[in-house]
């Protein structure tokens, strides 16, 4: 049945990937800027073990906050993240079926793939792929990872990242995400507008830069210590926290171009070490 509101859309997509055989996970408990950073993607896509998952990920990008006044941009937006490893030959067709499961009649619309290669310097990662446009609106980012944490992937996965807020605008014919009906009688703005306002104020005005700077170093140190003790999953959490601290410093305007580059390099080094540890452990276990 075609979803009638936001939460039905979320449920329909999740049901589709569950039927396909994916492991349905929950969002991560630490701030991430994208579903890719969730260990369910970043770590599981390293190594040779096959993996299929789908999960929602509220993605937090402090720079993009607009206090809830902009119809298009938010410092927190929802991604639907699917990983198919290895990428099946017919994976594009499967993706199209997922759109059909949302009630989208693809023959009626103009769907196209627009070349877009993805790169995440903090994770030492890159891949090749597309934006998926539906009648001119970008609704999905599609990537075949080639490298993560500085390592060439052993088994190439397909990452399908749905921009769920954009998708909801498309499905429910709204010009602003804020107006989308979340559940009967409740719109997206009712749920998140105040969130956007307060967190934008936090990101741009109130976040304490000296504390964040100190915390970054503490996270960095703890990550290193944990890696020494072969606790790579808790170590990775520290990397994510460090990355978020960096994003906040950036949003506060506290970083020069040189400093920015230096922070990115520090996060990348940590991500690399975690990736290395993960690949090493997987090999030992095998």
């Amino acid at each position: 049945m075609r979803p009638r509101n936001y939460q039905e859309m979320l449920a329909a997509l999740q049901q589709f990937w569950s039927d396909y055989g994916c492991v349905i996970l929950t969002p991560y408990h630490t701030e991430v800027a994208a579903g890719t950073m969730n260990p369910a993607t970043f770590l599981r896509c390293l190594g040779a073990a096959p993996w299929k998952t789908y999960y929602l990920e509220p993605s937090i990008r402090p720079m993009d906050g607009r206090y809830g006044e902009n119809p298009f941009r938010f410092q927190q937006f929802l991604q639907g993240q699917a990983i198919l490893k290895p990428a099946p030959d017919d994976i594009l067709d499967v993706y199209f079926e997922s759109l059909a499961a949302l009630g989208i009649d693809l023959a009626k619309h103009d769907l196209r793939l627009v070349e877009d290669d993805w790169e995440q310097p903090t994770l030492g990662a890159w891949g090749l792929g597309w934006e998926v446009w539906l009648d001119g609106m970008e609704i999905t980012q599609w990537t075949y990872f080639q490298q993560l944490g500085g390592f060439e992937v052993e088994v190439v996965p397909a990452e399908i990242t749905y921009g769920l807020d954009r998708l909801s605008m498309f499905l429910f014919d709204k010009e602003s995400v804020l107006d989308v009906e979340w559940a009967p009688g409740v719109i997206w703005g009712d749920v998140y507008r105040e969130n956007e306002r307060q967190f934008s104020a936090y990101n741009f005005e109130a976040a304490p830069t000296d504390v964040l700077t100190r915390r970054f170093t503490e996270y960095e140190q703890e990550a290193a210590d944990l890696l020494e003790r072969a606790l790579l999953l808790p170590a990775y959490d520290q990397v994510l926290k460090a990355n978020h601290a960096f994003n906040l410093l950036d949003a506060r305007g506290a970083l020069s171009v040189t400093e920015r580059a230096a922070y990115i390099a520090r996060v990348r080094t940590l991500a690399r070490r975690v990736a290395e540890a993960y690949v090493g452990e997987e090999r030992e276990a095998a």
């Binding site: 298009f72 023959a107 619309h109 090749l128 075949y144």
Partner: protein
């Protein structure tokens, strides 16, 4: 492109047609030879027949007696094979031979390509040819529109394009371009300042041009903002008023139009929102925030840059409008709109200045500071614009060079070549007086060197002119041009004066430190000395290079007489030293005004 040589190497012929689209790469090769050429495969040298002949022969399935000799080597005749038998591997090798800047792997297939290859099609006339490429499915079908058609049987190589067109897909870029252009023309006046058409033609295989509308209220935004919003991400084409054109690739036209209109509305709303926020901050406040925006690494902030540019504007003779424009020129770097759309820099700053009530001369300066945008693009129209454009470039060049970012042969990440060319054009075409003292030493050389390509004269004239002690950049060009257009006889005369004086003094020892008039014993050398004094004064007083040439010319006859009557290498050491000094002075005096004439090959 890569295909012709690859086709020649693997197939023995070059393609006549190339088809590129978002879902396929195809090519058509007519007149393939039915057999590959007979080959004589070279083996070991004849001298090693005893040792090596048997092994080589065995490898090729013949006996040692069947080997023939050519040029001292043993070899075997290998007859050509039927084309059909070699094509599967030859085509695979051809595909593998393609190289791309970025290529990827994908599961189950052992080679790299920009995106996963999902099918291969090869036809030899009406026959399907399998391609043995790493497990990629190969056959005689192609695929058209994703959601309308399934597999399309391709009856023959010759029928490929027609078969696809019958199913609504055009693999030929040129035809698609014609179709799209015609469709756009039919909608009325359209524009493409962002040059997105070249990309759009590769985004679609079933192009259908449509028009849409947006709310008129967005026309209150500066035109550039509307156009950039439309083109930058969405690749739409502005039409008159509140209409726009887009190229669809399928779907129901009404549904697709509605969708695209909605997307554009969202983006225009976003742009308007951002614009309003910038305007409410105001250009003066934006200018005040430049202290925290880095210009580039180690080069300080845009605030620092603004101060330096303001000082340069003063030294370039800029008036109040130029100074004000300099103060505000980079303010839009602190704006949200420029952060979102960097290509709006300058333009939106001018707009914000207008809205804040600054005089048009100031706004025009801000708008024009990034001109010329290319080697042949238009220059700033206003004097303020020119001065600011020059000051900005001078600063960027000086700072970049000081930090060690000189461009190399292949790398110029900061666009310094373009900046230098802009400076040269501002000096010559723009008539701007650009004191060379404003440029760092390395920068000066780098900038002057641009004239070698920019001016329509042989490079030697530029090289000669660069050695003159020109005060301003435009002078270098003027000297080069004047020398290059001199009548031959005139040029030869002063060239001779210069080179004769240079050649004798170049290798000599013991040149006097300063000319001593009491040692000028001969009439001819006194005349040269006197003429040189007059010429020197005339050169300094002359505005135009041409006048300087006339002045230098006056040395020709006296110098001719000098070489006839006077022995430079006199026995008396002091007199010799003095005569060398005289000639050196002649040479140096000419060079100071007209450059190193010996660079010009005559």
């Amino acid at each position: 492109m890569q295909l012709p040589p690859l086709a020649r190497a693997h197939l023995g012929a070059e393609p006549t047609d190339l088809y590129l689209g978002p879902r396929r790469i195809a090519f058509f090769v007519p007149d393939l030879p039915a057999r590959t050429p007979d080959e004589w495969v070279k083996g070991p040298p004849e001298a090693l027949r005893e040792k090596a002949a048997a092994g080589f022969a065995r490898k090729h399935g013949v006996s040692a007696d069947e080997l023939t000799v050519r040029d001292g080597f043993l070899g075997v005749e290998v007859p050509g094979k039927d084309l059909r038998s070699v094509l599967p591997d030859a085509l695979a090798a051809l595909v593998r031979g393609l190289t791309f800047a970025k290529a990827m792997r994908w599961p189950g297939v052992d080679f790299r390509f920009p995106r996963p290859v999902r099918w291969l099609l090869a036809k030899l006339d009406g026959e399907t040819v399998g391609v043995s490429l790493a497990g990629v499915p190969s056959g005689g079908v192609s695929y058209g529109r994703r959601f309308d058609d399934g597999a399309i049987e391709i009856p023959s190589a010759q029928a490929y394009v027609d078969a696809l067109r019958e199913h609504g897909v055009d693999p030929d870029r040129a035809t698609r371009m014609m179709h799209i252009s015609a469709g756009l023309d039919a909608l009325g006046a359209w524009s493409d300042p962002g040059h997105v058409l070249d990309e759009v033609v590769y985004l679609v295989e079933s192009p259908r041009v449509q028009a849409g509308e947006f709310h008129e209220k967005y026309l209150q935004l500066p035109n550039r903002v509307v156009v950039t919003t439309m083109q930058s991400h969405q690749r739409y084409f502005p039409l008159a008023g509140n209409r726009f054109a887009f190229v669809a690739n399928g779907g129901d036209p009404d549904v697709v139009r509605a969708g695209n209109e909605r997307v554009l509305r969202g983006r225009l709303e976003d742009a308007a929102f951002t614009f309003e926020r910038d305007v409410s901050v105001g250009i003066d406040e934006l200018a005040g925030r430049l202290g925290s925006i880095t210009f580039f690494a180690d080069a300080g902030s845009y605030g620092d840059k603004t101060e330096r540019v303001a000082r340069l504007v003063d030294r370039l003779g800029g008036g109040d409008a130029s100074r004000e424009a300099a103060r505000l020129a980079k303010a839009d770097q602190a704006s949200e709109l420029v952060r979102e759309f960097p290509e709006l820099e300058g333009h939106i700053g001018a707009e914000y200045a207008r809205l804040a009530g600054y005089p048009e001369a100031v706004c025009a300066g801000i708008e024009e500071q990034y001109l010329p945008e290319s080697a042949h693009g238009p220059l700033p129209q206003t004097e303020t614009g020119r001065i600011l454009a020059a000051a900005d470039r001078i600063d960027t060049l000086n700072v970049a060079f000081e930090l060690g970012h000189q461009p190399t042969g292949s790398r110029d990440p900061f666009g310094l070549r373009r900046a230098a060319i802009g400076l040269c054009r501002l000096a010559t075409e723009g008539g701007l007086r650009l004191p060379l003292s404003l440029l760092g030493e390395d920068v000066r050389d780098f900038v002057e060197e641009r004239y070698e390509n920019l001016l329509d004269v042989p490079v030697e004239y530029v090289r000669a002119a660069r050695r003159a002690r020109a005060d301003d950049l435009g002078r270098v060009a003027e000297i080069a041009r004047t020398l290059a257009t001199l009548d031959r006889a005139n040029l030869e005369r002063i060239h001779t004066v210069f080179t004769r004086a240079q050649n004798i003094t170049a290798k000599a020892d013991g040149i006097g430190e300063a000319l001593r008039t009491e040692l000028l014993v001969e009439e001819a050398e006194r005349e040269v000395a006197t003429t040189l004094d007059e010429v020197s004064a005339a050169l300094e007083g002359a505005e135009a290079v041409e006048a300087q040439v006339h002045a230098a010319d006056r040395l020709a006859e006296p110098l001719e007489r000098f070489f006839q009557d006077v022995l430079v290498m006199a026995d008396d050491r002091d007199i010799r030293a003095n005569r060398l000094r005289l000639l050196r002075d002649v040479r140096d005096t000419i060079e100071a005004s007209l450059g190193d004439l010996s660079q010009i090959p005559l």
